[in-house]
């Protein structure tokens, strides 16, 4: 009897617990706590302007992040940019006036003697929208997924990305694997030119009429990274990333000059002509590229709260390009303001198929060629200063001014060509103004 009573007591006690729990679950506890859920917006405007009236760009961007808790967030970012100005078309300067067929074939533009040939039909507007969701899976794992779409009048890109992170060693070490894929479509003005074919005089040529409207390329990305907390004030990251592109990787608007290399003739080093027309070829790049890079970044906060942020990247690819990038920032922090000088140095070696021009005796035999200075030997420097002011309501105004300088170098040519400036430098100024709220 006594046992039976005890059992009933136990059973009823269990019953009371279950009901208490169930009622708490139903009513949702009593908490008056509010999660700090809000949109954090960072909006900025970039003005980019190159010297000598080359490209200038205006680029507004707005990024909105909703933080659900300290680890869960949803971000949307909208970027628009408009480019105007002129861009080098790849041809060499000459001691003669040069006339070029415009990309659409419906017109032409010219470069005076000794002047850099610039394609001034260059004009574009781009809109890009991206979104990313990041959340924890449990204490040890987190993931992120994202999507990206961008559109300009001759280029569309669609991409997805995902990442998986594993925390180790009490969150002092984070291993991250990121994967991305994107699919791009190029539909150049005037159609897709045939690589290494001569640029025809106008749109009536069969080279024009037989063109495809569009080409595509696909890109796969994988990043493996380790983030390590070093001590109370220092954090470090190493990444290895691999990026493969395949499909149409050529720039449809870039051409090459063919230079007369007959040292016995009086046009040695001048533009090679056939039927009294200068010969220019459309550039052609391989249809695949494999890039790999190693990246290291360290951030350290000093006793006076200033922060040093240094990174280094080494990149190499199967086109023969290798590059080194060093980026350093130092943030002086005052009560509610900061001043951040920034320095960046970048150097790259040229791609195997890069050639400032083609020789008339051999131009029919090359498989790939590009005179795009971006694939040549290049050194660039950026010097900048960022200033920020944080208001009492935790909004922030910031601005940044920076100067970008490029120096190209390479083979100086022969004959008449040696008197031409084949590797002009580039200077650009960038002004960014932004507000976070």
């Amino acid at each position: 009897m006594a046992v039976a009573v005890t059992n009933t007591m136990k059973k009823n006690h269990e019953l009371a617990k279950i009901l208490a729990a169930a009622s708490c679950a139903l009513v949702g506890g009593l908490s008056t706590a509010h999660a700090e859920e809000s949109w954090d917006v960072d909006s900025a405007f970039l003005l980019y302007s190159e010297s000598d009236g080359r490209v200038s760009a205006a680029e507004p961007v707005i990024s909105a992040t909703r933080n659900y808790d300290s680890e869960t967030s949803l971000n949307f970012k909208l970027v628009a940019d408009t480019l105007t100005g002129a861009s080098p078309n790849g041809a060499t300067p000459s001691d003669q006036v040069q006339t070029f067929t415009s990309p659409s074939g419906n017109g032409s533009y010219s470069a005076a003697a000794g002047e850099q040939p610039l394609d001034d039909t260059f004009r574009d507007t781009r809109v890009a929208l991206s979104s990313n969701w990041a959340a924890p899976i449990n204490r040890d794992w987190a993931y992120g997924v994202g999507g990206y779409v961008s559109k300009e009048h001759d280029y569309q890109s669609l991409g997805v990305s995902s990442s998986l992170s594993r925390y180790l060693n009490q969150k002092n070490t984070t291993l991250t694997l990121g994967l991305g894929a994107s699919s791009d479509t190029i539909n150049p003005e005037g159609g897709v030119p045939t690589g290494l074919f001569q640029v025809p005089e106008d749109a009536s040529s069969s080279e024009f009429t037989q063109r495809n409207d569009s080409e595509s390329k696909s890109i796969m990305d994988a990043v493996f990274g380790i983030t390590q907390v070093v001590n109370r004030n220092t954090i470090m990251q190493f990444n290895y990333s691999i990026n493969t592109s395949s499909g149409y990787l050529t720039d449809p608007y870039k051409i090459l000059s063919v230079i007369d290399d007959d040292s016995t003739g009086n046009n040695y080093g001048g533009n090679y002509t056939v039927n009294n027309r200068n010969v220019y070829l459309y550039e052609k790049r391989p249809d695949s590229r494999l890039k790999q890079s190693l990246y290291w970044q360290t951030k350290h906060q000093f006793e006076n709260n200033d922060i040093l942020d240094v990174s280094y990247r080494y990149m190499f690819d199967d086109w023969g390009v290798t590059s080194h990038t060093v980026d350093a920032k130092y943030r002086f922090r005052f009560n509610n303001q900061y001043l951040e000088p920034q320095l960046r140095w970048y150097t790259q070696s040229k791609a195997d198929f890069y050639s400032r021009y083609l020789d008339s005796s051999a131009y029919t035999e090359v498989d790939f060629a590009s005179a795009d200075y971006r694939l040549g030997d290049l050194d660039t420097y950026t010097i900048g200063l960022r200033y920020g002011y944080q208001f009492a309501d935790e909004t922030e105004f910031y601005t940044r001014f920076s100067l970008y300088h490029q120096e190209s170098s390479g083979d100086d040519g022969y004959g008449k060509l040696t008197s031409q400036e084949l590797y002009p430098g580039l200077d650009a100024a960038m002004l960014m103004v932004g507000y976070k709220f």
Partner: protein, 74 residues
């Protein structure tokens, strides 16, 4: 020259990561690391604008990182 460099960096990475278990801080020692300014990409908008400029002017792009570290709050 470049191949040797890659090898050296890889060795560097391996050495540093094997040393990881002795590095790090306790959960309550993350006051500094918890600051937004100490996240590895603390100005994502500036970074993306820079990336766009450099992407269109140079042959290399990408490779940079993502999160990690931080407050370690749960």
């Amino acid at each position: 020259m470049s191949k040797r460099f890659v090898l050296l960096s890889l060795v560097g990475v391996v050495i540093t990561t094997t040393g990881c278990s002795e590095m790090g801080v306790k959960a309550w020692e993350r006051e500094t690391l918890a600051q937004q300014e100490m996240s590895l990409i603390n100005e994502p908008v500036e970074s993306s604008l820079n990336d766009h400029v450099y992407f269109s002017k140079e042959a290399s792009s990408g490779g940079q990182g993502f999160g990690g570290g931080g407050c370690g709050c749960n």
